[in-house]
């Protein structure tokens, strides 16, 4: 992360923490909570799906385990915050199991395998009414007592900040380089001594833990959850689309993606009423067609066209510049 990026990020998070001082509408804060929640989930997904390039479409499993962990463990008398962390532990364990199996597969087969696992988790939750409440759902304890929505908003910003700092640190570390190497070419990564299965698994464990915290926050805000909501394929897809739209494999991408997508979704809901999903779908298609590297990825590439960026962190595909071409031709001669 460059100096300028650091200032931008620090300023952004400071402003975000200050928002409840100005904004008092519960409705607005709830939307902003959703923006930050999905920014955090997107950052979490980005470690596996963006940096390591493993397209997971089953993150709802970890989200759901986090949500149900909080709900069910506190039902048996464990304090809510302890339940939350135990739930995160359960999500990490399930990620270990899912990862050990699905990381044996590459490309689309991996994606299909993650969908299958998330569906298994959802169906199990649906069909164990004695434990989970089944389709009827279950109650979730409130994590914060006073001025609840403000606390949720702040915890959403905190979770995003945590995921952001973690990502920024990973990006510059050996682990981050290994993740990117796996995305670029797994055989090459192995040839320089990267234990690709282990590195991929670690990224998934970190990702699942963050996702599960998000799931618990979400569940506690709504106080009531059903499997078809917190473990649905829609949830998995949304967690993946946010960073893809913003720029997968970039630090700022998931945050930008969430701001654009979640606010757009809310605005469309108000303006277009029943047609909002259609408009939303069109927006996603447009971005995929015209900005395949996502919003952040495209901006970074445009910047790189003008100056020789000390690349690295922002590893989005780059078109060939004319002077590069000239250098290369000169070398060939």
């Amino acid at each position: 992360m460059s100096h300028r990026q650091f200032i931008a990020a620090a300023g952004f998070f400071l402003l975000s923490f200050a928002v409840p001082l100005v904004v008092h509408s519960d409705y607005t804060l709830q939307i902003l909570f959703r923006v930050f929640l999905f920014a955090a989930l997107g950052l979490a997904w980005n470690l596996v799906g963006g940096y390591a390039g493993q397209l997971s479409l089953g993150h709802a499993a970890y989200f759901g385990v986090g949500a149900y962990g909080l709900a069910l463990l506190s039902k048996v008398g464990i304090p809510p915050w302890l339940s939350l962390f135990l739930g995160v532990g359960l999500a990490v364990i399930s990620a270990a199991i899912i990862g050990l199996v699905s990381f044996r597969l590459r490309g689309p087969y991996f994606a299909l395998c993650t969908i299958a696992f998330a569906e298994v988790v959802r169906l199990v939750a649906k069909n164990l009414p004695d434990v989970t409440g089944g389709d009827v759902g279950t109650q979730v304890p409130l994590l914060f007592t006073e001025s609840s929505i403000k606390s949720f908003y702040i915890s959403g910003v905190l979770l995003t900040a945590l995921a952001f700092v973690l990502t920024a640190w990973i990006e510059r570390s050996k682990f981050g380089y290994y993740l990117m190497a796996i995305r670029e070419d797994e055989d090459t990564a192995m040839s320089v001594g990267v234990n690709t299965s282990r590195v991929k698994l670690w990224s998934l464990l970190i990702s699942a833990a963050l996702t599960a915290i998000g799931g618990a926050l979400y569940a506690s805000l709504f106080l009531f959850i059903v499997p078809d909501q917190v473990m649905s394929l829609d949830m998995s897809v949304e967690i993946a689309i946010v960073p893809m739209l913003g720029g997968a494999g970039t630090l700022f991408g998931p945050v930008i993606g969430s701001i654009v997508l979640e606010t757009a979704a809310e605005i469309f809901k108000n303006i277009f009423q029943e047609a909002h999903l259609l408009i939303y779908g069109v927006l996603v298609v447009m971005v995929v067609i015209f900005l395949p590297e996502g919003i952040a990825g495209t901006i970074v590439n445009k910047l790189r066209l003008f100056k020789k960026a000390p690349a690295g962190s922002l590893a989005a595909p780059v078109p060939v510049r004319p002077e590069e071409e000239a250098e290369r031709t000169a070398f060939r001669k």
């Binding site: 380089y177 190497a181 090459t188 192995m190 040839s191 320089v192 234990n195 690295g312």
Partner: protein, 244 residues
């Protein structure tokens, strides 16, 4: 002193015996070239040594340790580096980052990895390209990048699969002269090569000739190219007339 030893190694892909009962040794500080026509089994032999595939029978020893069943990343950790015949750059990373990735095998500090990567890139005369993305570089530079990344892992043995294939002759010889210096750093090399015999004659200490998976000759470069069975299987009778 023996660095690598292959004992009666065989590998079959369905009905094809890609490598058939091949035994050879590589000594420390030596550059060995495996030559043979297209499909002779050179790449399979490299994949067997680096653990990408495992032999059906036979065994491979590296520094007296059995590496027959090792995974590729474990082989790299032991000190076996490799380049790929079909170059595999990490396209969206810069040249420097590609090489740093190799250096991370021996250090966890990005600053140190970068320093080592810069040193290696300077040796391979690639300083100009440090911050360019590997995607879209020309083949000569990509071939060098493969070598740089492998060297950054500080290997004791480096396997160079068709490292000069597809390069213009001048560039191939330039690269070969750089590679000739590897033993100075205590790095042994095995090159695999199909047809650029000039390079082999210039830098190889020893040559192994394989044809259809079978080892047909080994020895010093000049001795080997004079053998009738090598001329028959590989070089062709006209080779003697052209002379090298």
């Amino acid at each position: 002193m023996v660095l690598l030893e292959a004992k009666h190694v065989s590998k079959r892909f369905g009905g094809l015996k890609a490598v058939n009962d091949v035994s050879f040794t590589v000594s420390r500080g030596e550059i060995t070239f495996i030559v043979g026509p297209n499909g002779a089994g050179k790449t399979t032999l490299f994949n067997l040594i680096t653990g990408v595939v495992h032999p059906d029978s036979g065994s491979i020893y590296f520094q007296d340790q059995d590496i027959t069943k090792l995974a590729p990343d474990q082989a790299a950790k032991l000190g076996i580096g490799r380049t790929f015949q079909i170059v595999k750059p990490l396209g969206n990373l810069t040249v420097l980052e590609n090489v740093m990735l190799g250096a991370f095998l021996r250090t966890s500090k990005p600053a140190q990895a970068e320093e080592e990567a810069r040193g290696i890139l300077t040796f391979l005369q690639m300083e100009k390209f440090l911050h360019l993305p590997a995607r879209g570089m020309g083949l000569p530079m990509l071939k060098r990048l493969e070598i740089a990344r492998a060297l950054a892992t500080q290997p004791k043995l480096i396997l160079l699969d068709e490292v000069v294939a597809g390069l213009p002759t001048v560039e191939a010889i330039k690269l070969a002269m750089l590679l000739k210096r590897l033993p100075e750093w205590g790095i042994s090399a095995i090159g695999g090569i199909e047809h650029v015999m000039q390079v082999v004659m210039k830098i190889a200490d020893r040559v192994i000739v394989i044809d259809r998976g079978v080892l047909i000759a080994e020895g010093k470069p000049q001795e080997v190219v004079d053998r009738p069975e090598v001329i028959e299987a590989y070089l062709g009778p006209k080779y003697k007339e052209i002379g090298l």
